[in-house]
Symmetry: C2
DNA sequence: CGCGACGTTGATTTGCCTCAACGATTGTGG
DNA sequence: CCACAATCGTTGAGGCAAATCAACGTCGCG
């Protein structure tokens, strides 16, 4: 279990010193998930956000007809959580599970808020993280409204260059918002 | 020009005192926009975010076929900006303009970042703002993937209860992601 | 080996778009 | 205050992108 991937990010992007890193690291809880094992299920309250160290996680919702819709993939270096449930402590609408055996570092919202008071640079790190996540989610929303499925597929390949050949295609279809059958047809075209 | 709507929010949600409020207020620049007048156009760099005091603004993108897609409405009490351009200082993909004569308070990113160093509570206010915006954008993204146009229309009416009868229907159609003709048919059904 | 998960392909259906025509409303200049 | 244009909402006919349903081959794994 090696959290240097995370601490390195913090040192580099936010200038945290060794003492701050140690305080932060003391609140992180390592965990492992096997493929298909879940960190969070619909209806539960999300206590922890996860920083992925190895493997890959995904967040998805289940609609009224039983279809899954992938909100986010989290390869190593990414945070993943149901932000809604995590910050409000209300019941989650999302499921989060591993799509490849994964090692993660967990952080509870309560610990995070406590750390913000002790380490202002950490609050800045997470503010910037939220800002960037907002930008990319808004971009994706606009792409969903204005582009065809084929265009969205090619954007997916650029956004997650290592995932295209590494995860089941039905998950990619679910991410770009089409059926597995239709993604197969798109790929067949060229 | 009355910025109490904004300062009240800050006092209540973030516990800013009078001195902090005064420092913050000194960086705000009042502005007015007539209907159809624009704060930002595609290709420009967004210097300012706007807090809407009266009237209503909207942010939208123009796709390759010349169609508009509304990302966000901003009635009084809401912030609006092209977050991507505002934080990166790169060329904007969005347009922002008034859909009803509006009074706003402008804040540049440079001033905002400078204020964060002087008033930590302000950084917290904007962190929470970004977190909440992220939650609602993600929710909308999932709704766009799993719900029908009719369901999205009813959600719009709940999200913006004062806008349903107050702005052109073609803007609502653009927000929920359908053509004006199709929204008209949805409304005719029931 | 055999079973379940996955990807592919084809026939058919459907939600929404396109294009066109037409009133109603708004607003703007004379 | 009216005339006219522009904008907007509605309605209908036809078309297309993507969904649905079903059948079938393949692969990894218990």
């Amino acid at each position: 279990m090696n959290i240097d991937l995370l601490l390195g990010q913090l040192r580099k992007q936010s200038g945290l010193d060794d003492a701050d890193c140690a305080v932060f690291a003391s609140k992180l809880r390592p965990a492992k998930f096997k493929r298909r094992e879940s960190l969070l299920q619909q209806g539960q309250v999300s206590r922890d956000a996860a920083f992925v160290l190895s493997g890959c996680m995904r967040a998805y919702s289940l609609d009224d007809n039983g279809f899954e819709h992938v909100l986010q993939f989290a390869p190593p270096g990414w945070w993943i959580t149901d932000m809604y449930s995590w910050i409000s402590k209300k019941e989650s609408n999302l499921c989060i599970e591993a799509i490849k055996d994964a090692q993660v570092a967990l952080l509870s919202r309560d610990d995070q808020l406590e750390l913000f008071d002790r380490i202002p640079k950490l609050e800045r790190y997470f503010r910037i993280l939220a800002e960037n996540a907002l930008v990319s989610t808004r971009t994706r929303l606009m792409e969903n409204m204005s582009l065809t499925a084929k265009q969205r597929y090619h954007i997916f390949l650029k956004t997650y260059p290592n995932l295209g050949n590494d995860i089941p295609q039905k998950l990619i279809a679910s991410y770009i918002g089409v059926t597995p059958e239709f993604l197969s047809k798109i790929r067949g075209e060229k």
